[in-house]
């Protein structure tokens, strides 16, 4: 095996150890690299900022524990903005684990102590509703016909925020964060296309390339692009959290990946050239 071939076959343990080191160093000693706010996150922030006080938002937690490191910080940041602006938030989950993420997010936002929000009056959690697009169509079509209680079992007749909410016409905007392809397109189909509602979406970075056409065509008014978008939202809402802390680390590790890709390519072509010389 030539030196080039040895370089191309770096043991994965070595690569992973380098990645781990590249994550730990900037976590312990933050570099403080500047954050350049993206236009997609800025549009999300501006859209919510333009809503009048008391506007009703339908918000979907469409991610579970796997998506929490990416979308959890974004969720906390956008909720800070919602409650700061005195918006009414009807929260549901299209992800099975969404109901487990809800308390984690609320622990980060603390709407009662930070903003004086009252459960049932300013926000409500309906829990997980199965069926993806069928659930979306049901909630937007006739909410009281679909949902009889909130997540804790309180009948919706006793929840003041839901007294004037019957369906899509009563929501001023639909917002969601999701790791699921069906959900990401589903809200655009069911809220924008079917009811012409304003829609905001947040996704894992790996989904952004497939979801950006919806943003470019105005079907999504704002878009949160994974951890990068979450860091943007934390910066814009002035509530720094895990995402801003992760930004340095991601910049550092992405640089390492670029270096490894370059090494891989150089060694590939080097090995090819040396084989040609041998023959």
């Amino acid at each position: 095996m030539s030196a080039w071939e040895k370089l191309a076959a770096l043991p994965r343990e070595l690569v992973l150890t380098l990645v781990l080191i590249a994550m730990i160093i900037p976590t312990l000693h933050p570099l403080g690299l500047p954050i350049m706010t993206g236009q997609m996150a800025q549009d999300w922030y501006d859209t919510v900022d333009a809503l009048p006080e008391g506007s009703v938002i339908l918000f979907d937690i469409g991610y579970g524990s796997g998506g929490y490191p990416s979308l959890g910080p974004a969720n906390i940041a956008v909720f800070h903005q919602f409650f700061e602006k005195d918006l009414k938030v009807v929260i549901m989950a299209t992800a099975l684990e969404g109901s487990m993420m809800y308390p984690l997010v609320m622990e980060g936002v603390k709407p009662e102590s930070n903003y004086g929000a009252v459960y049932g009056e300013d926000y409500v959690f309906l829990g997980y509703i199965a069926g993806e697009q069928t659930a979306m169509a049901g909630v937007l079509g006739d909410l009281p016909a679909l949902v009889s209680t909130d997540y804790t079992g309180i009948p919706i007749a006793q929840i003041s925020i839901l007294q004037d909410v019957a369906g899509a016409d009563d929501f001023d905007i639909v917002a969601y964060l999701t790791t699921a392809g069906g959900t990401s397109e589903g809200w655009v189909y069911q809220a924008y296309s079917a009811y012409d509602k304003d829609v905001l979406g947040g996704f894992l970075s790996m989904m952004t390339t497939s979801m950006k056409p919806y943003y470019d065509t105005g079907q999504l008014l704002g878009l949160i692009d994974g951890v990068k978008g979450a860091a943007d939202m934390e910066f814009l809402t002035r509530h720094p959290g895990d995402a801003i802390q992760s930004s340095d680390v991601l910049s550092f590790t992405q640089t390492l990946v670029i270096i490894l890709i370059l090494i891989g390519n150089i060694s590939y072509f080097g090995a090819k050239a040396s084989r040609k010389e041998e023959t």
């Binding site: 994965r12 343990e13 992973l16 990645v19 781990l20 994550m23 730990i24 976590t27 312990l28 796997g66 998506g67 929490y68 490191p69 990416s70 959890g72 099975l96 684990e97 109901s99 829990g127 997980y128 509703i129 199965a130 697009q133 069928t134 169509a137 679909l146 949902v147 009889s148 209680t149 397109e185 589903g186 655009v188 189909y189 069911q190 924008y192 296309s193 079917a194 894992l204 970075s205 790996m206 989904m207 952004t208 390339t209 056409p213 919806y214 470019d216 065509t217 105005g218 079907q219 994974g226 951890v227 990068k228 895990d242 802390q245 992760s246 680390v249 991601l250 590790t253 992405q254 990946v257």
Partner: protein, 206 residues
């Protein structure tokens, strides 16, 4: 300061156990994997039962007997396990497929076809030079990528115009590259979340 919360210690153990697979398959990882599958299955069952209770049974209790139809359809799904009455299972599946397609297809055509075609067919000359460049890239990318999938006329892939689908292929490869970069960032973002948890919440060094 190292956390004294047992829940944090359990979470830290499972984080390390789950990520240990990246180095090599091992018994600790298998323990974490099986535990996760068990908990996830248990949680799914609980949520499933809760859904049946909240979105089905509660309505029947309120006198909305039409919801009994849903229960009948649900029970019919279990005929999948019978060799003799397997055909009964096809009726609720037909209902599910028909319902799902009916709900999504109209809006899907509007969002995925009409809106995207309308956006692609917009004037190439835009307000700013950068937008104009973007519009040219979108137009060239769209037309050349579509030409790559023309299989009824072989001539398009050969001869003097053979470069058009080739450009389309390069455009798609650029798109795949962007997707790969975003995927790497997503995975690192997830891993970083756990590293931050270990260093901050468990070891207390951040």
């Amino acid at each position: 300061m190292v956390s004294s919360d047992p829940a944090i210690w359990i979470a830290a153990f499972f984080t390390i156990a789950a990520t240990s697979y990246a180095f090599r398959d091992n018994i600790v990882f298998k323990f974490a994997e099986n535990t996760f599958i068990g908990i996830a299955a248990g949680h799914a069952i609980v949520m499933g039962v809760k859904n049946i209770r909240d979105y089905g049974w509660a309505h029947i209790m309120n006198g909305e007997m039409i919801y009994a139809v849903v229960f009948v359809l649900g029970i019919m799904l279990y005929f999948r396990f019978s060799r003799e009455y397997y055909w009964v299972y096809r009726y609720p599946i037909a209902f599910l497929v028909g319902n799902g397609v009916g709900i999504s297809i109209r809006a899907g055509i509007h969002s995925d076809f009409i809106k995207n075609i309308a956006a692609t067919a917009s004037p190439i000359i835009a307000a700013t030079p950068l937008d104009t460049v973007n519009n040219i890239l979108i137009f060239v990318g769209c037309v050349t990528a579509l030409s790559h999938f023309i299989f009824t006329y072989e001539g398009i892939h050969k001869g003097t115009i053979g470069w058009i689908p080739k450009v389309g292929r390069w455009m798609m490869l650029l798109s795949f590259g962007a997707s790969f970069g975003n995927t790497v960032m997503t995975r690192f973002g997830m891993y970083q979340g756990r590293v931050l948890f270990l260093l901050r919440d468990w070891l207390g060094v951040v």
